[in-house]
């Protein structure tokens, strides 16, 4: 992905023009692999929605899955919180140890899908279908009052969800990026 012919050509030119020695000295023992063969591992979702899979899910489906998949055991009924974090809170961010949840804190919606898919359910991660992940994402966003009850989450709609705390972040070390 994204490797332009231009940069390949530039690389070849650099090779021919003198950095060739350095490249030739590198062990170069890595096995080439195609992006298609990395696909099973490539679960990174970017905030602009890049790499979101096809499929969609509703809040009602998500509410049922939240019970069926055992989410309640850690997050409580309706995501009110249990042994692990509550899914939503009305808490304000006016104290430095405030509960940071999706609605009051997160700057982006895509990590909700990304994290549910990569890490949940805790005992059996990456066993949910993409439809299930979209449905749970919809339900959790609904609990945080970020989407209306008839909204459907998909690769189209998820990145567009408005996150109220989006503009309240300060990059601590911009010169390191």
């Amino acid at each position: 992905m994204c490797t332009s012919k231009l940069s390949s050509a530039a690389g070849l030119l650099a090779l021919l023009l003198g950095s060739g020695m350095a490249l030739a000295e590198s062990p170069n023992l890595g096995q080439p692999i195609s992006e298609a063969d990395v696909k099973a591992w490539d679960i990174t979702i970017l905030p602009d929605g890049s790499n979101l899979p096809p499929g969609s899910g509703t809040i009602a489906q998500g509410a049922k899955l939240f019970v069926d998949k055992g989410c309640v055991a850690c997050h409580g009924e309706n995501g009110k919180g249990g042994p692990n974090a509550a899914m939503a809170t009305d808490e304000r961010l006016d104290h430095i140890d405030a509960n940071k949840t999706i609605g009051n804190f997160w700057g982006y919606s895509t990590p909700v899908f990304d994290f549910i898919r990569r890490a949940m359910p805790y005992p059996q991660p990456r066993t949910l279908s993409n439809e299930d992940v979209y449905a749970l994402t919809a339900y959790v966003l609904y609990l945080n009052k970020l989407i209306g009850e008839n909204e459907v989450m998909s690769a189209e709609t998820l990145p567009k969800v408005k996150m109220p705390n989006r503009d309240n972040f300060i990059i601590k070390f911009p010169d390191k990026i």
Binding site: L29, G30, P32, I96, K100, P111, F115, I171
Partner: protein, 438 residues
């Protein structure tokens, strides 16, 4: 008969309030103070005479069989990590390093702190794969066997959780050991392959600014790191203090980002994806974006900034008698080498420069020591470090003004993260030690 004279003279030179002595005292470097040659003997504490010697039982019979793997003496059974979740319920498990019981700058592998969000994976190194892909000329896969053939570097670096020292965000000092307050940092000699070597081999697209690094643990823990750091000094670490990584520290390979927030140093590293934007992954979106007092939050707080704390004497220990002690502690900075450490025994009114254990490595633990003669009166010990970039460890008042503190005491060990202000120990006339703020 005449005996050899001590090599140091004037060793009781007090350089700051409440008995802090010149740091060169007893370090074999000898300081000559004109007219002070006789003062050493005068101030020596009187120690009661010893009992007659006897041969103990362990010296009168052969000892135990040699094991293949050494473990510490049974008398050191209390030198262990403390666990936050010993039964492994489905949540994070923290194990903290007992700094108050250790010395030097290298953390023994068995005592290196660990944080596992989903337990320790049991990875077969022969089947483990590292893939680098995304915005690269040619995606590639590396096995442990192939990486073993690469040129390696060996460097001393600390790793510190961004949440380390979190209890000090409390508005009142939490009475806890160094281990409970600062045990989520450790320092090792790491050996591995420079990530820049591998990035050069796959050919990074100049438009790639970020790399998503991901582990082979069950949560596939991922973080976004600037490619710049990848080319700068990032290491794919394979060895820790000369032996393969401990399972809890990322076996068989981990990313090491010297000086940067522990959670970004991806353990069980299996995938690096080059991208033009950060993923805003769970941990950067939520946990490691610290809230500020003005309802804003920092994002991408990569660097663990300059910090120091006294490990001895500290809470949980007790001074048994007046007289000489060595104050000892750890300093480190994610911005480079420690330049100096000052110690105060009077709550910050006067300060004296501590001795630094050589060599001082960048982004590594630096042991500092300060000779001290306690007169039995109440004192408050604090340390404050500076790094080679001129960054000073912030005083508590300044730190709280910028970063805030809790409104009421909390049991939450992580009210916030990236705390790097001072730690102070108040010692009363009985030698009891409390955690205090100054």
């Amino acid at each position: 008969m005449e005996y050899r004279k001590p090599r140091t003279a004037g060793s009781d030179l007090e350089v700051a309030g409440n008995g802090l002595l010149d740091r060169r005292t007893l370090l074999g470097r000898g300081i000559m103070i004109a007219g002070a040659a006789a003062s050493g003997a005068a101030a020596t504490t009187t120690v009661a005479a010893a009992e007659p010697l006897q041969d103990p039982p362990w010296s009168r019979a052969p000892g135990a069989v040699t094991p293949v793997l050494q473990t510490p003496s049974r008398f050191e059974k209390d030198v262990v990590r403390t666990l936050s979740n010993p039964s492994g319920t489905p949540r994070t498990q923290h194990a903290r390093t007992p700094h108050q019981l250790l010395n030097g700058t290298i953390t023994p592998n068995s005592l290196h702190f660990t944080i596992l969000h989903t337990g320790i994976p049991d990875i077969d190194p022969a089947q483990h794969r590292l893939v680098i892909h995304g915005m690269v000329r040619q995606p590639k896969e590396f096995t442990l066997e192939t990486l073993m053939r690469y040129p390696m570097v060996t460097r001393n670096h600390f790793v510190e959780c961004g949440g380390n020292s979190g209890p000090l965000f409390n508005n009142e000092p939490v009475q806890a050991t160094v281990q409970q307050l600062h045990g989520l940092c450790s320092c090792s000699e790491w050996t591995g392959v420079l990530l820049s070597t591998l990035l050069d081999e796959v050919g990074v697209d100049p438009k790639a600014v970020w790399m998503q690094t991901e582990g082979a643990d069950s949560s596939a823990l991922d973080r976004s790191t600037p490619v710049k750091k990848g080319f700068d000094d990032a290491i794919i670490a394979l060895y820790q203090n000369g032996e393969r990584l401990m399972p809890g520290n990322g076996y068989p390979m981990r990313l090491l980002l010297p000086g940067w927030e522990g959670n970004m140093n991806t353990k069980f590293l299996r995938r690096i994806k080059l991208t033009d934007q950060p993923a805003m992954s769970y941990y950067e979106t939520r946990n490691y974006s610290p809230l500020l007092p003005n309802e804003k939050a920092y994002r991408f707080y990569f660097i663990n900034e300059v910090k120091s704390f006294i490990t001895r004497p500290s809470f949980g220990q007790r001074l048994t008698d007046k007289g000489y002690y060595e104050i000892s502690g750890i300093a480190f900075s994610g911005n480079g080498r420690i330049a100096k450490v000052l110690v105060s025994a009077d709550g910050g009114k006067s300060w004296a420069q501590a001795a630094l254990q050589e060599p001082v490595h960048p982004r590594a633990f630096t042991r500092f020591t300060m000779p001290w003669r306690w007169d039995g009166q109440p004192v408050v010990l604090s340390s404050r470090a500076w790094d080679e970039g001129g960054n000073a460890q912030p005083l508590r008042a300044d730190f709280v003004a910028a970063r805030g503190q809790t409104k009421a005491p909390t049991n939450n060990p992580f009210p916030n993260n990236h705390y790097n202000s001072l730690t102070s120990w108040g010692i009363d006339s009985k030698g009891e030690i409390k955690h205090v703020y100054v």
